[in-house]
């Protein structure tokens, strides 16, 4: 009987904890989707995704044997988008609250720093995932394009962007995995300053550094420590995943990195209160 009541208590506490987290999550997500800021990012991203697709159509003429996803994520446009999207999404999270002073109201409400952090993190991460959804429409859009060409000019142009299940799952899972870590990294950058600009610059620098660490082997060739650099190289991971080769090593890498970064951010937010 006693066990039962403790169990109920734990359950109730958990429900309370999660419902408060949910409240923060919804508010933060609304902060992306109910203000012009989010839609500007979404529009720009869709524009760049369009350019990525166009780059694909050019390289596909060379018949490399790789799928659409591989070429899309191998293009320069993707690199640009991928490096700058995280600072844009995350720069506001803590820096803006700190500048406005609303962090004070948030931290004096009966919620924990972890709840606030996780609410913000999941909201930013959800918005990041939303950004990639329009790509799912491309095959369907190519059908429409074909239909349009046929009705307009009476000819079959037969552009096809196929859903190759392995490629698409691979692409979306590596996007989700790397995103989980980089969103956490962006929030970490945002929590160390009250200026959004500095947060964004800081995050961009870290992104670029991380990107080039993955390409060290291309500059220095193979050396004893090279496997480390292969291991963390997201450009190589993207190539593997978008060819349909799913790998569990990045899963471990990015999940641990995400958890460590979030833990560090939590410490930082608390630490900054102690020193103020």
């Amino acid at each position: 009987m006693k066990n039962d009541t403790t169990l109920n208590k734990v359950k109730r506490n958990l429900v309370n904890y999660l419902s408060t987290l949910w409240v923060i999550y919804l508010k933060e997500l609304r902060g992306y989707l109910c203000v012009p800021f989010g839609w500007v990012i979404l529009t720009c991203t869709m524009g760049i995704q369009g350019l990525m697709l166009q780059a694909v159509l050019e390289t596909m003429t060379q018949a490399t044997g790789n799928g659409v996803m591989f070429h899309m994520m191998d293009s320069l446009f993707f690199l640009l988008l991928f490096i700058f999207i995280f600072p844009l999404i995350t720069m506001r999270t803590f820096a803006e609250e700190e500048r406005l002073g609303t962090l004070e109201g948030l931290l004096t409400a009966p919620v924990t720093t972890t709840q606030i952090l996780l609410g913000k993190y999941f909201a930013a991460y959800s918005f990041y995932l939303i950004i990639w959804l329009p790509m799912l429409l491309y095959p369907w859009m190519s059908e429409i394009g074909n239909l349009y060409t046929y009705t307009r000019y009476g000819e079959h142009c037969e552009t096809t962007i196929t859903y190759m299940l392995a490629d698409w799952i691979g692409a979306y899972s590596i996007l989700a995995l790397t995103g989980a870590f980089f969103v956490a990294l962006g929030i970490l950058c945002s929590s160390v300053t009250r200026s959004q600009i500095i947060a964004a610059i800081f995050c961009t620098c870290l992104m670029i550094m991380y990107y080039f660490m993955g390409r060290v082997t291309e500059l220095w060739g193979e050396f004893p420590a090279a496997p480390i650099f292969h291991y963390i190289s997201w450009s190589e991971q993207f190539k593997a995943f978008t060819s349909g080769a799913l790998d569990t090593r990045p899963l471990v890498l990015y999940l641990t990195m995400t958890i460590c970064t979030l833990a560090l951010t939590k410490r930082l937010v608390d630490y900054r209160r102690w020193t103020r």
Partner: protein, 311 residues
């Protein structure tokens, strides 16, 4: 309701609050008084749990702010200085969000938000974006936020700062009406405000608590408390000599000789004594006319000046 024990806060080498201990009972309206930079805001922020104290601790409604931070904050409504708000939210949406953060769910959210909107007079602006609100309304939104969930303790940091006289009056009335079911701590440097609404005053200067008592008790022991001024027409030396011979009188100062042979004296006596009767009797005994006799009522301003002046 609130017990603070040896709260201490340093910022680097600067000590903002030194060993502050005080108790606040349920139902009291407490005014934190002090010059700018005295440590009022720091003390309040420590009570809210936002700034962790360097040493010492405090408890709110029996919950320690360090050991049970979430539980202690559940009993607390806090309105920070300058009222930071999300500018891109509407008043009602903001209050609903805050109510949910404070753990209210379902129908409670609507009723509570409705209650605070009504209480703070936000009805005409409930659908406005917060960025379009005037200073007075922002202040009210902050107050409404603090009231959500009917916390036992309200901590208001300069609630009337930057408002016009009418708004100050409205907010003051509001705070007074809140005292029925809340304990209130407010900070201000407007002394008349404290005299009007607070039943306990804590005076802080340079991080130290100088006094914590009711306004009446504070003014009672003051040096200015026994002062009497008298204006009479007649022989100055005789009156001064006889007054100085009277026991509680410490010193008689001739303030001014006015046209028409009138003299004004300031009689300094022990605090808590009344020398008016004696002074009147002396002038009457010599047949001198008296046109003005007055005993100073010490105000909180006198207390404040005496405790915080640096000369």
């Amino acid at each position: 309701m609130v017990v603070a024990e040896h709260l201490h806060k340093t910022f680097g080498r600067f000590t903002a609050v030194k060993d502050a201990s005080f108790r606040i009972e349920k139902g009291e309206i407490v005014g934190f008084l002090g010059p700018n930079g005295a440590g009022k805001t720091t003390t309040m922020k420590m009570l809210t749990g936002y700034l962790p104290p360097t040493a010492g601790t405090a408890s709110i409604a029996g919950h320690d702010i360090l050991d049970e931070p979430v539980e202690s904050r559940r009993h607390l409504g806090y309105m920070p200085e300058n009222v930071p708000l999300y500018d891109d939210m509407r008043v009602t949406d903001y209050l609903i969000y805050r109510a949910q953060l404070k753990g209210l769910r379902g129908g409670d959210v609507r009723t509570q938000v409705g209650y605070v909107i009504d209480k703070c007079g936000l009805e005409p602006k409930r659908k406005n974006l917060i960025s379009t609100l005037s200073k007075g309304y922002r202040q009210r939104v902050g107050l409404a936020d603090a009231l959500l969930g009917k916390p036992d303790l309200l901590i208001l940091d300069e609630p009337t700062n930057g408002l016009d006289p009418n708004q100050i009056r409205q907010i003051r009335e509001l705070i007074r009406s809140l005292a029925e079911d809340h304990t209130v701590i407010l900070s201000t440097h407007i002394l008349s405000e404290v005299e009007m609404i607070c039943n306990k005053v804590i005076i802080i200067d340079q991080g130290e608590i100088k006094a914590a008592d009711t306004p009446l008790n504070l003014t009672r022991g003051l040096r200015a408390a026994g002062r009497v001024s008298i204006e009479f027409k007649g022989d100055l030396d005789v009156v001064v000599k006889e007054l100085e011979a009277f026991a509680p009188v410490k010193k008689v100062i001739v303030e001014e000789t006015l046209p028409g042979g009138w003299h004004r004296l300031l009689v300094r006596a022990e605090p808590g004594t009344d020398t008016r009767e004696k002074a009147a009797a002396i002038t009457a005994a010599h047949g001198f006319a008296t046109r003005h006799i007055y005993r100073h009522i010490p105000s909180l301003e006198d207390v404040f000046v005496e405790m915080t002046r640096r000369d």
